[in-house]
Amino acid sequence: MQVTSRHFKKGAHEALHDENIQSAFSRVKSGFPLARARAAGELPEFEGLRDEARDLKNHILQNLDYYLEYFEDQVLLQGGRVHWCSSYTEARDVVLAICKEANAKTVTKGKSMITEEMALNDHLEKNGIEPIETDLGEYIIQLAHEYPSHIIAPALHKTKEQVTELFHENHGKYGLTERITDPQALVNEARQVLRDKYVAADVGITGANFLIAETGSTVIVTNEGNGDLTQSLPKTHIAVSSIEKVVPTLEDASLFLRLLARSATGQEMSVYTTFSTGPRRMEDIDGPANFHVVLVDSGRSDLLGTDKQDLLRCLKCGACMNHCPVYQAVGGHTYGWVYPGPIGAALNPHMIGLEEARDLPNASTFCGRCEEVCPVRIPLPKIMRHWREQAFETQVTPKPERWGIGIWAFFAKRPTLYRLMTRISARSLKGMAGKKGVIRKLPLLTGWSSVRDFPAPEGRTFMEQWKKQSQEGK
């Protein structure tokens, strides 16, 4: 996919003036967070489970090599195959080779973020294989030639009317020519079209929410059932997963399952949680005859041992974006790569380069809600701060900003001088404000004051008041 993160500011500006984006993303505010709060409230153990989940992920990351090898052994033992891929290029080629081996013309796909990262669909299309996304949201954006704006609700930015038009343009070839507008009817039509695709597909590709070392299973979590039809009807099932998804045991997966759906949508369990182990057994009368697991690193292992390792704990639930005031205002596509919201702001600079994604860690007020709701307690604001520091140190930050920060740092390192300067500023700002108590236009910061008034300081600084109060207290 085309990476557009460097145009964050322009994109944000446009998104703020786009009525569709504003109405779609303002719905996020009232929906997911309330549902999550209710689900968390109904489970007294919830906060404790989050601590356990954080610690378990840390344990796994410290022993990642061991658990991956154990997982591989079990997949092989169950008759599956494992493919290790260091890069996206390699992973795309491996998947393509398996599809060719299966003489595939069409492949159905369950929802998978790693295949978005890999831009797998483009690669398959270029090589004459038709990929069909089966998650309804993914299907909609595939028809629109777009990419997800939310990790669990990929077509969040699309209005009902836009879906109507997309289906009308694309479903005529199946004899479905009526223009339908009712959401239930739209779902029914997609169901009808995709049903034949599941049956006709030669290969089914899914992602994996977890890999179980103990049993060599891959796990998917869905609400629609599309992932299950994708992986049970074609002859070949390919599960594509990044390497950090491995968990040791079924009991360990249970811990994460109790947090995942509650954090994502406020459900106690998603409708379908499916564990797939090896190909169909000798006596089985359905299921895929071939089972492949494609394990992708592509930058994950480079996070180990760094100040950003905590990112590898991510369960991809989307809670951070659901609760982010910046995401709610600018929408998903503005972030310019696969992961939007706080997780994107913290992860994308690593995946696509800090120079490209420089604005993302700045797209935060550091209100801290993302960290408050993250089921595995990833310190997202802290990681964004690390990126800001790194951008400054490596001179990725533009010069005027660097100078501004440099001047501030000069004073901040000299407390007496700093206090003197703040005393002068506080008094002059108070003077500027006059009796109104607000400043209409701030010199050098007109961008900020163009849309709001600046409340004037009281006249004395915090330090002055503190000193006075301490003296009076004695």
């Binding site: 990929p154 969040l156 779902v187 049993t215 049970s232 409708v271 564990f275």
Partner: protein, 226 residues
């Protein structure tokens, strides 16, 4: 260097160590084989009867429907009544599971029952469950020659027969039963946990039932604990 080696070399280098020594690896192996549970919610620490009630209450909250049936012999009539009440087709595809062998469908001649894996034209499926989980109203289905998993997804209407004794408290109870049946470290090809009928929120976050999997999920709880 093959990618596998590259990935392992990078992981170990960045963790600042080589492969784990024998003692450390042994401890991790023991951890897997011991598969100790984490904190388990206490909501199912209640009497058997209350667990069954909780299972039903949770399943209904997920938009499944539930009926209690006094014995297996009465399952065909319960199925017939359900299909009639919702004006659904009377042709049924049933799992070839021995647990359902004795069902007296001669009592319901209007039901046309065949057995096997699902085909696209099947509109109603009738399957057993492996276990039920009271904690969340979830069904656990284990695939096998007698229990093809396509029956759980392809038909629009899914009717599940579960005996009271199969309903337990938590997810962990199902792991214990799967290990007992299939052996430690083994699972059948597909284990499905099903919590209500299929749904989507992908069009303007409006909840719509029946996205790809079954539109309706009906659970018959058969009383075998009298």
């Amino acid at each position: 260097m093959p990618s596998r080696d590259k990935i392992f070399a990078r992981i170990r280098h960045n963790l600042g160590r080589g492969p784990l020594d024998e003692a450390a690896a042994g401890a991790l192996k023991a951890r897997i084989e011991g598969h100790a549970p984490h904190t388990i919610p206490t909501r199912t620490d209640i009497s058997r009867d209350k667990q069954i009630d909780l299972f039903q209450e949770k399943a209904e909250a997920l938009a499944a429907t539930v009926a209690r049936v006094p014995s297996l012999a009465e399952v065909p009539e319960a199925v017939r009544d359900y299909l009639a009440a919702h004006n659904l087709p009377t042709r049924i595809k049933m799992s070839p599971d021995t647990a359902l062998d004795g069902l007296p469908f001669d009592k319901t001649p209007m039901l046309e029952v065949s057995r096997g894996a699902a085909s696209p034209e099947d509109e109603v499926s009738l399957t057993p469950a492996f276990t039920g989980i009271a904690e969340t109203g979830t069904l656990c289905m284990a695939s096998g020659p007698e229990t093809p998993s396509t029956l759980n997804f392809l038909p629009e209407n899914h009717v599940v027969v579960i005996r009271k004794s199969q309903i337990t408290g938590t997810l962990e109870d199902s792991w214990a039963q799967l290990r007992a049946k299939f052996g430690a470290g083994n699972l059948p090809r597909t284990v499905n946990f099903i919590s209500g009928p299929s749904r989507t929120g992908d069009i303007e976050q409006t909840l719509i039932m029946g996205a790809h999997g079954p539109r309706r999920l009906h659970i018959l709880i058969v009383d075998d604990e009298k």
